[in-house]
């Protein structure tokens, strides 16, 4: 028992804790990372099922669409964009699946943080700020996507879907994470504005994420769709990410300015999303 006066004294003031201003200074600098550490600790509990999912999903997609549908496409039209259908569709599937995973990671868990389990309100009472909490969660999820994209890429290599070479094609990993960041930051910001869990998240899943998956040049080039549907691709992080990914995996040809537009678009979405999210967290938790 810590009930002797000495033990209690040590519990209350051991002399091993730095002064408050030092603790505050550390938190001002690293608070977001402390939340990432927490996020990783909770993710450990789910690590096994997440990894199985992260291996299983690319296998299913690549076998069904790349190999299965691919055999049909290749025997019909020969090649798509000058390569086999597997090579054409694989980078797009990587981008799509990573971006789609934001639909689980940055919606309901945000609601749990604010409302269901009130998990954000633990760190909120410490020197860590609401903006750092939101940023920490965002970065934690992005770290998950690094792993997810890397596994997908490794499986693509195993399927022989990276004709431009293993090393260059590894760039799909940062491209995938950037695409997920672009959409995820906006989604997290939006989720943080919702007071009641309703149909909104399911709505986003069905009417935002699915159309991006289906119509943003994933399964066929955007150019093969009627011109009045092209806008879906242009506003979709999935399309911009996919176009970049195709360049590094099989050398898809695009103009330099279009490449710059892709990178700028994804970066801008990320920046706007993160700023919106940080402001929203601050307002919601402080007012």
């Amino acid at each position: 028992m810590t009930d002797t006066a000495h033990d209690l004294q040590r519990l209350a003031a051991s002399g091993r804790v730095p002064p408050p201003e030092v603790m505050a200074a550390r938190a001002r600098r690293w608070g977001w990372w402390y939340y990432v550490e927490y996020w990783l600790r909770t993710a450990k509990a789910w690590a096994q099922s997440i990894v199985i999912y992260m291996i299983g999903e690319p296998l299913l997609y690549l076998i069904a669409l790349g190999v299965g549908l691919g055999t049909l496409v290749d025997s019909g039209v020969g090649t798509v964009d000058g390569v086999s259908y597997l090579v054409f569709v694989a980078p797009a599937l990587l981008i799509s699946t990573v971006v789609m995973s934001t639909g689980g990671e940055l919606t309901y868990p945000v609601m749990a943080g604010f409302k269901w389990d009130r998990l954000y309100y633990g760190p909120h009472a410490t020197p860590v700020t609401p903006a750092q909490i939101g940023t920490g969660q965002f970065v934690g999820v992005m770290l998950r996507f690094v792993v997810q994209a890397a596994i997908f890429w490794a499986i693509m290599v195993a399927f022989g879907a990276v004709p431009r070479g293993v090393l260059v094609s590894a760039l799909v990993i940062p491209i995938g994470v950037l695409s997920a960041a672009a959409f995820g930051a906006l989604l997290q910001a939006y989720a943080s504005t919702l007071r009641d869990e309703g149909y909104q998240f399911a709505f986003v899943q069905r009417f935002v994420i699915m159309p991006m998956f289906l119509f943003a040049g994933t399964f066929f080039p955007l150019s093969s769709m009627p011109i009045y549907l092209h806008w879906i691709g242009w506003i979709s992080p999935v399309w911009h990410g996919t176009q970049l990914a195709r360049q590094v995996t099989y050398g898809a040809v695009e103009t330099v300015w279009l490449t710059i537009v892709h990178v700028l678009f994804l970066s801008l979405c990320t920046l706007v999303g993160v700023r919106w999210m940080r402001r929203s967290y601050t307002q919601r938790m402080g007012a």
Binding site: M1, T2, D3, A5, D7, L8, Q9, R10, L11, A12, A13, S14, R16, V17, P18, P20, E21, V22, M23, A24, A25, R26, A27, R28, W30, G31, Y34, Y35, E37, Y38, R41, T42, A45, D117, R118, L119, Y120, Y121, G122, P123, H124, A125, T126, P127, V128, T129, M285, G286, A287
Partner: protein, 318 residues
């Protein structure tokens, strides 16, 4: 009102100073210009019914809620401007537990300590000490979801101590706990006070306020109704004893006029009449002598509940 000094207050310094503190939500003045000062080492209470503005006041101390007006200094700092610095001084026990139920007891403490920038080398041993203090040694490696309500509360208090705060804010620390769990918790808090931790407690339980607080403010509708030690408040706003008599819902109102001269003051509640007097037994004899035999009667000491009733005309717990 006479100034109240607890032993610690004689040597302490003002650790929290609030002046004309105000919080307005639309038309609602949740905290309506309150002024108080808390001395280091004392145990200070905010007593009032639900919705009185107690939690709102607490959150403004930690700077996690922006104030609408007034000034606030915690350890000399303005929480609105130096939030992280102020919160580094504090341990906070919120009204609703927000432990991570998927993490173990130990991990909850370590994760929380990291938010203060405390190194793992410190947290490893500190977590063990805190677990022992919270009497959760057997549960250290259990997921938090397996704990009882009282255990979770003790863990939340232990968590709030991870940065060795000089000031511990406890918002309704024992709401929802059974009597035994409450006493265990009060004992833990007493021990902290003994080693110089300043306690700030909100509660709507008068027994908790009497047990824990050296000094308290009674709050209603965002305003301070009275201030003092539990004993001085009872002395100032109530009689020594209270006689509770029940004549049945129909007769209570009818007999009340005949009791007026028996008591210093009468309070008629829906189910009973409270007769305030310094000698309850004598009052009961007098009432019986008049042939007004109550169905039940009870003589007790006055409590903060009576103070609150006197001040607001309402009971603390509806």
């Amino acid at each position: 009102m006479p100034p109240v000094t607890s032993p610690a207050a004689a040597t302490g310094y003002p650790i929290v100073v609030a002046e004309d503190l105000t919080k307005v939500y639309g038309q609602n003045r949740a905290v309506d210009g309150i002024t108080f000062s808390i001395t280091s080492g004392e145990s200070f209470g905010l007593l009032g019914p639900n919705g009185a503005g107690k939690s709102t006041t607490m959150r403004m101390i930690g700077g996690t809620l922006t104030r609408s007006g007034g000034t606030m200094r915690v350890a000399g700092l303005d929480p609105a401007e130096r939030g992280p610095e102020v919160r580094a001084h504090l341990g906070v026990v919120p009204q609703q537990d927000n432990l991570d139920e998927e993490l173990t007891v130990r991990d909850n403490l370590i994760v929380y300590g990291r938010y203060f920038g405390l190194p793992h080398s410190y947290l490893r041993t500190k977590a063990d000490e805190l677990i022992e203090f919270a009497q959760l040694t057997d549960k250290a490696k259990s997921k938090t979801t397996a704990l009882s309500g009282g255990m979770k509360r003790r863990l939340t208090i232990a968590r709030a101590l991870v940065n060795e705060p000089k000031l511990l804010l406890l918002d309704e620390p024992t709401t929802g706990l059974d009597p035994q769990a409450r006493h265990v918790l009060w004992d833990r808090l007493f021990r902290l006070k003994e080693v110089g931790v300043t306690l700030v407690v909100t509660t709507h339980f008068m027994d908790e306020a009497e047990q824990l607080c050296d000094r308290l403010i009674v709050i209603d509708h965002g305003r301070i109704m009275a201030e003092g030690s539990p004993r001085s408040l009872i002395r100032d706003y109530a009689t020594r004893e209270v006689l509770e008599v029940r004549f049945g819902a129909q007769r209570n109102a009818a007999v009340v006029d005949q009791l007026a001269d028996v008591a210093t003051r009468l309070e008629v509640l829906p189910d009973r009449i409270l007769v305030y007097t310094d000698d309850g037994e004598a009052a009961l004899e007098e009432i019986s002598a008049r042939g007004l035999t109550p169905i039940t009667s009870l003589v007790r000491r006055s409590s903060l509940e009576d103070v609150f009733l006197r001040l607001t005309g309402r009971t603390l717990v509806d």
